[in-house]
Amino acid sequence: MIRKKILLLGDFSVGKTSLVKRFLDGTFDEKYLTTIGVRISKKIVTLNEVECEMIIWDIEGSTPRKKISLGYYRGASGAIFVGDVTRHETIDALVHHKEIFLSENPDSKFVVAYNKVDLLNSIAKDRIELEIENDSDIFLTSAKDDQNVEDLFIKLMDNMLK
């Protein structure tokens, strides 16, 4: 069976853990609990008749004072970069997260989650949808409302298997 290490990267409190939780067991918790270090989970998915085990690294978010340990990046085949659509600075920071990740894993694949889309009004959501319509690797997600979470992980797996 193919096994792939994937990372969830982004600033703190953008919803990385919630996306993992939603993907793994279909649940959501409103309470914000900061992740420290790394939590690793596994999920087997079948894509195009290929069975693959995703080793999902939910890594603590970077803060202005604390950057992510580069040790976590080693051997990753893919990454999900997560930003919070209600905090524009976390979306802007994704460029930085990508740069670091790809410098450590140049051949790796990635997708992007603009998370917490449930908090946007319809006008703001339409505007973002328009902005990203030509980029199939960016997903508007909501761990709370289960929007595009499965698609996000599957798209990454698809990218990694190509």
Partner: protein, 387 residues
Amino acid sequence: MKNIQIILNAILSKDRFEYILVDKKFKIYDFSLGVNKYFKKIVQNGEDVTEILPELVGSEKEIEEIFRNKTVTYELESVYKNDQYVNLSVEHYNEDILLILLHNITDKTVSQQKILQYSNESILLNSTLQKILDSQNALVFVTNNNEISYTNEQFLKYFGVKRVSDIKRNNLRIYTYLDNNLESYDALFERVNSKEEYILINKDTFILQATWIESKNKLFTLTKVTNLSNKIQIDTLTGVYKKAYFNTYVEHMIRKNEEGVLVVLDIDNFKLINDTYGHQTGDHVLKEFAMLIQENVWSDDVLARWGGDEFLLLLQHTSKEFALKKLENLRILVSEHTFNEVGHLTASFGVAWKEENDDLHSLLQRADRAVYEAKKSGKNCVKFKKK
């Protein structure tokens, strides 16, 4: 081997470390019993170590190197395992065996997590507060040594700067917008404290307020009221400003010690128009007169209706000679214009130039006397009154 076991036993006795030994095929060769607390299943010899430690997936080649090279290690910090936190370290044991040490750091990490949680929540709260502040009126926070230490985004936007340091670099002193004679924020505070002042910044009108913060720092608030102010201050009949707004402009000019000419304009024989054609036509004439003047003065000149058929005009940034020439041209323009319904009209102009120690009242009084003299001397002329 024996030495390592002694060391391991010493470490293990503190219940801090557990170990797993794995062979070249990554199968578990041996382990300390305590490792089971980190996994949801019972660990067994011969099992693939990546089943219980998926942390090693992706780094297999790096780990294989450890068999060959004693100096290489593989380390991972703060890994969450079954409600515990461990530092994980893969080290050379011998050429066929690797030692995986699991160092329990739960107590320390949980404490750190509490601090991190508090810190992150504080950052989020701070970010929200910052967004609230930025969405408010322009705010300037001044310390007790008269230095601007904080401004919100609205303030920076109004003044066309990007950051607080630009204010100092551009020598931007807000107090001079209210009065050129003010020399510090302390002086501004004295002036504004417990009342509101209207100030003009570029073409916008602001209400300026000041508040003490912690009895030594000062917070100034600038509320943009241009649109509201304009709406309230417009004379509904003629579309020009009301006198109250005109007064603000004149006072601002006097405070900033700028040059300016105040003019009172009076339509000659206007009563006759009302009596002959009716008040409705009179209103049309007032409107047409105001429009004619407005279209022939500069955009920074201010035209207002004083009342009845009397208008006020403030000409700014002009010399006395040029102003008189301009007013003479306006007089001719009015006399040559054909007004709808009534035909030709004339107007008298009374002019006062801002002189030393002038205030609104004295300036207005002189211009009013000048228009009176213009009327007395046959109307349809421009009269200038010195102090």
